[in-house]
């Protein structure tokens, strides 16, 4: 029983961390119809910044700084690599995104020398706590609540504010949005800012759990978050969040099966098998809109 609880807890927690990344994919897709392949690497860079900044600064300064600079990074990537291609075919923007992804990975290799770096032990988040008889880290408990809080705040922003209304308008019709006086580029920037900020928060939580960071450390969580976004119906925020929790839980359950069965090594393959099965029966994902044109 305790074992089941601990598996569930860590599944929910890792799912929440995927959710924070997945929102970045789904928001950008919702507006630009672009799969931002660099998003997972932005997440990795946020992790690296966490390592370097906490080494020289107190947490109260370094963590907010990570957040701010990750946002700056996301904003800059959009302006430098995607905005100039606004009227180009979508495939070109996608290739640009892949280019940015490798640029970030290579830069990380250059700076770290390719060696795995260890994420710092953040007080409180890394402290252990006893839940129903199982030992776990506070981060495992905090993650789902923080995710729900952030998703709630984001939903309010999108549904109740002027900029949120503009985001919804732009996601449907660029040209008419411009005729209303909306600056499309500002709205797109806001999207990247939100996505990057959430990825930064996700990086603190995720790397506290899995502290080894290599230049490709963003690839797998990024890919799974992307799968979660597709699974939930890309473009949909609730879809991405629910998809991420499901994938996190499934993956942890498989990893937690008795070692004699020897299946835990297939947990990633399972994630993608699950995606394939879902997409066979529901091609638009759980909450996706019908008839979107995907690349």
């Amino acid at each position: 029983m305790e074992y089941v609880i601990s598996v569930l807890l860590s599944g929910i927690s890792v799912g929440g961390q995927y959710a924070l990344i997945a929102i970045g994919y789904t928001l950008v897709y919702g507006i630009l119809r672009l799969i931002n392949f660099a998003h997972g690497d932005v997440f990795m860079v946020a992790g690296l910044m966490g390592i370097y900044f906490t080494a020289t600064m107190p947490f109260s300064v370094s963590i907010p700084l990570v957040l701010i600079l990750t946002v700056v990074l996301g904003f800059t990537i959009e302006r430098a690599a995607y905005k100039p291609l606004r009227s180009a075919p979508r495939m070109s923007v996608m290739i640009s995104a892949i280019g940015v992804s490798y640029l970030l990975q290579n830069t990380a290799t250059y700076i770290t020398g390719g060696q795995p770096m260890t994420y710092p032990v953040i007080p409180f988040l890394s402290d252990t706590v006893n839940v129903a008889g199982t030992q776990t880290k506070w981060v495992v408990i905090v993650t789902p609540f923080l995710v729900l809080l952030l998703v709630f705040a984001l939903t309010m922003l999108i549904n109740r504010t002027k900029v949120g209304m503009a985001m919804r308008a732009v996601s449907k019709d660029f040209e008419t949005s411009r005729l209303m006086g909306i600056k499309i580029n500002s709205v797109i920037s806001v999207t990247f800012i939100i996505g990057s900020a959430l990825a930064a928060v996700g990086s603190v939580l995720f790397f506290t759990n899995y502290p080894a960071i290599t230049p490709t450390a963003g690839a797998m969580p990024g890919l799974k978050a992307f799968v979660a976004a597709v699974f939930g119906g890309i473009g949909s925020i609730p879809g991405a969040v629910i998809g991420a929790f499901l994938i996190g839980i499934c993956e942890t359950i498989i990893k937690g099966l008795p070692s004699a069965w020897d299946v835990s090594v297939f947990s990633d393959a399972f994630t993608f098998a699950l995606l394939i099965i879902i997409l066979i029966f529901k091609p638009q994902g759980l909450f996706g809109e019908a008839a979107t044109d995907k690349v």
């Binding site: 503009a166 308008a169 411009r178 005729l179 209303m180 006086g181």
Partner: protein, 241 residues
């Protein structure tokens, strides 16, 4: 009637190598309803899209309210008081009716209540549907919403691209009645129509566009009585024999 609100000089618009608008001059005076009629592909929509900033002109000047707005962004043009009701209505299907209205006032920072009431005054049916998503409205209601949305920007000049397109005749009549009321309330209107009969009846002045050039201009009444116009655009041969 004497103030020129919109002045277009020698406007040329090209798409790739094709010249859609081949040097037109056009004036709209404050308080008027001016209509631009012509067949499909005559360059009507291109003209309107260029005025609103969606398309950059190849040559020529657009002066609005004493200011040169040639080649400016739609955002800047909207902020000067020029709103457009686009062809095909283009309301935001995922926004509620009231949100569609509010987004028409996107650049305004003041209170919108009075304007929303004004729009509901013109179109009571929208008030009943206030909280419905725009995509659930009928074609006529969507057109009303598109007009209301543009009015929310408090335009000095309201441009409409084919407001009658795809609507039942009775709805078209209703829309045109409202266009006249909006104009009487002080908004200048530039109207593009294939439904020349409707447009000429409501317009103070009209231009006939053919192959990207202006072939004729005059008051709505003059053009309604012109034989060439009757034959080409009003589908009527009476008086031509």
């Amino acid at each position: 009637m004497s103030d020129t609100l919109l002045q277009i000089k020698e406007l040329k618009v090209k798409y790739g190598g094709i010249e859609a608008v081949r040097g037109i001059d056009l004036d709209v005076h404050a308080g008027e309803i001016v209509t631009l009629i012509g067949a499909n592909g005559a360059g009507k929509s291109s003209t309107l899209r260029t005025i609103s900033g969606l398309v950059k002109p190849a040559e020529g000047n657009i002066i609005f309210d004493g200011e040169d707005i040639t080649g400016k962004d739609p955002t800047q043009i909207v902020s000067k008081g020029l709103m457009m009701v686009p062809e095909g209505r283009r309301i935001f299907p995922n926004l509620t009716v009231i949100e569609n209205l509010k987004i028409g006032a996107y650049l305004r920072k003041d209170d919108l209540e009075k304007d929303i009431e004004m729009v509901y005054g013109y179109f009571p049916r929208l008030k009943e549907r206030s909280w419905q998503e725009g995509g659930t409205l009928s074609g006529g209601e969507q057109q009303m919403l598109a007009v209301g949305r543009a009015l929310m920007g408090r335009p000095k000049l309201l441009m409409m691209d084919e407001p009658s397109l795809g609507l039942a005749p009775i709805v078209v009549q209703e829309i045109f009645k409202i266009i006249r009321r909006i104009n009487e309330a002080g908004t200048t209107v530039l109207l593009i129509e294939q439904n020349a009969n409707m447009a000429l009846h409501v317009a103070d002045r009209a231009y006939v566009l053919e192959n990207g050039k202006i072939r004729m201009e005059g008051t709505g009444k003059e053009l309604l009585e012109d034989e060439k116009v009757r034959a080409a655009y009003l589908g009527s041969t009476s008086g031509s024999n």
